[in-house]
């Protein structure tokens, strides 16, 4: 007797149809989302890699945002210091003028007043605040760094501290973002406010103007040197921005490599499953309407 076959054809048919439908759904999902991974089970290792990639790229975005948020503050500091530089230059030339022995006492007095005006201007600049934060008072950002103080030899007293904040520019790279006023305006190696006060007193008394002017020049060159910090940091910001945007592109390329759907393959699969479905349905339709022996009995 020949091997008997299962007379019920439908069970095979439905199993096959399920397999084809599953492939079809997968292909459709990939085409719709553009991603090969629509649930962790589609590719567990890929899903994990994608999460780590996302975490890195979120960090990179945040680093970029750090830079963008701080750039205005650093630019404000940089341009404030430029104004200080030109004001001090003016004070030095006043000092040079005062050093000229032909000037009378009244002229010296008016020079002293001018220098005093410049000192007040610089004091105002040193007390610059950005978004309610004093940028030259170290980390005491809510305290104005300098106040006039007649008792002090420099005529002012520093209210800030020596604190320096840093931010992260990228993983493992941090950069300081501020210089305390104590390094800029009352640096022991060349005290700007002290030298200004010295010049004012010298002009008022008419003695030691040249020495005072020399002290001011020294303080000036120190300030001019120290303030390059802001330019350097802004440069570093620019470099980091370039680096970060490259990294961001790289990470998103990597994400596409991990999870990007092969659209051509998915389209082909979709077409194949459509053909397979049609073939299955056609054959099953025929199979269901196959005659039995009963149809031929009288």
């Amino acid at each position: 007797m020949p091997l008997r076959v299962n007379p019920n054809l439908s069970t095979d048919f439905f199993a096959e149809l399920q397999i084809v439908r599953r492939q079809q759904n997968q292909a459709l999902q990939q085409l719709a989302s553009g991603s090969r991974i629509n649930a962790p089970s589609d590719d567990p290792a890929g899903a994990a890699a994608l999460l780590e990639n996302q975490s890195q790229s979120d960090q990179v975005d945040q680093f970029q945002k750090n830079i963008q948020d701080l750039q205005p503050q650093l630019q404000a500091a940089d341009s404030a210091l430029s104004s200080v530089v030109s004001a001090v230059t003016q004070a030095i030339s006043l000092g040079v003028e005062g050093g000229n022995s032909t000037l009378g006492a009244s002229n010296l007095q008016s020079l002293a007043q001018e220098v005093s005006g410049i000192r007040d201007e610089i004091l105002g600049i040193a007390n610059t605040s950005v978004q309610g934060q004093y940028i030259f008072s170290g980390t005491l950002t809510k305290t104005a760094p300098y106040v006039l103080d007649a008792a002090s030899p420099s005529g002012v007293s520093y209210q800030g501290n020596t604190g320096v904040n840093s931010i992260q520019l990228s993983n493992g790279q941090t950069a300081p973002i501020n210089l305390p006023g104590s390094q800029l305006f009352s640096n022991p190696g060349g005290d700007l406010f002290g030298a200004l006060q010295q010049l004012i007193t010298a002009l008022q008394t008419g003695t030691g103007v040249s020495a005072a002017t020399a002290a001011l020049s020294q303080a000036f060159s120190l300030l001019d040197n120290v303030r390059t910090f802001y330019g350097t940091t802004l440069n570093e910001f620019n470099n980091s921005e370039t680096f970060l945007s490259n990294e961001s592109v790289q990470l998103s390329t990597q994400a596409t490599q991990i999870a990007g759907a092969d659209l051509a393959a998915a389209t082909t699969t979709l077409a194949q499953t459509q053909t397979a479905t049609t073939a299955l349905l056609t054959s099953q339709g025929k199979a269901l309407s196959l005659p039995t022996l009963f149809d031929f009995l009288p």
Partner: protein
Amino acid sequence: MSDLFSSLSLAVRSLLADQGAIEVTSNNVANVNTPGYSRQEAVFNETPPLQFGALQFGTGVELATISSDRDNILNIRLSQETQQQGKFDSLVNGLQQIQALFNPVAGTGLGASINTFFDSFQQLSTNPTDPTLRQGVLIAAGNLASAFRLIASGLGTQQQSLNESVVQQVGQVNDLTSQIAALNVQLAAAQVGTQSGNALLDQRTQLIQQLSQILDVQTINAGNGNVTLTTSQGVALVVGAQSFNLQTQVNPATGFQDVYAQGSDVTTAIQAGSLGATIQLRDQEIPALLTKLDTLASGIASAVNTQNQAGFDLAGNAGGNIFVPPAAGPGAALNLAVAITDPSQVAASSDGTIGSNGNALALASLANQNIAGGLTPAQFNAGLVAQVGSDTAEAQSQQQSAGLLVQQLQDQQGAISGVSLDEEAANLVRYQTAFDASAHVVSVIDELTQTVLNMAGAA
């Protein structure tokens, strides 16, 4: 030598036999679409011949038995594979629900909340006195805590409903085993080779298949038409007329229902069928995930709290906890909560000065430190998602292969037991022709008898 009347009774016997065979055929045709029906065959026997002197005369035919075409070994294999299929069907079902809680593509899971939380400290470092940025940290912390709670409670809810399902499935098992025991009794009394006996066998086979969907059951043919059913560990479920109910009992340690068979705990012994899968999900898969979630939650909470305590808040006071410190033991993820509502209490300062951002940076850098089970939070979370994904993928592929195997065995079973309308049509014609012929024989003998009677009348 035989007489006309014995020829007549021979013809009548064959009429009866053919009529019986036609009945078997029509029963087959009627049950062509009945699930679990095994096709039946009329088995004819030649009746014993009669001896007349040196001659033997046949006495015709009888319908000896109605056999049913089944393969018991195949049925046992089918039962075993059905247990696997039942297991993986339920596993995939449960794991897909779990996976939905961890799917970053669908916007669930912890990844985004973890990243946003640590990035909020980075953002704070750019302007540590800004109240909006401080508030941002607390909002991100709140979102992270609620993401943990959402997943942990989602898993807990699922665990609870799996627990209820254990009780329901045990009820189904008991229902099925008592029906099978009742069928054992009926089968012992039923005559072998009758249609009613075959129908009872079909029923019992069907019930054993249904039982196999639920748990791993072993079938032993015990003779006398009885089957003995045991669990894979050998604990009796049905012995002859007796069925043994499984019981459920709350385990005080877990609060979940354990399964008992005749007084002994068989919970861990049930490895297959939907009940096996339910227990595996409830007692292994979900607790393992909850443990990992707890590790991650308490890792993040303690590291962040410790670091916040190392800094100073906006008022210059030493920092406190950002998260309510998780209690030891399970529940860290389920109960994760933010401890502070005042944004000024975020300790961004490293030295107590108002504008220092050193501690905010330190808090942000925790994102890249191994604070959760020896991994960074993002790595740990990625591992968690990978585990859920691979468990699901593995169960899916096993479900498919178990499905194909069952399909194949069902095909084989169909080849043996399925009703073919072509065969039945052919049989019907054969039996009808034989019936016609026997009827013709009866009428011929009737004529012969008339002839003999007429002879007697003429004499």
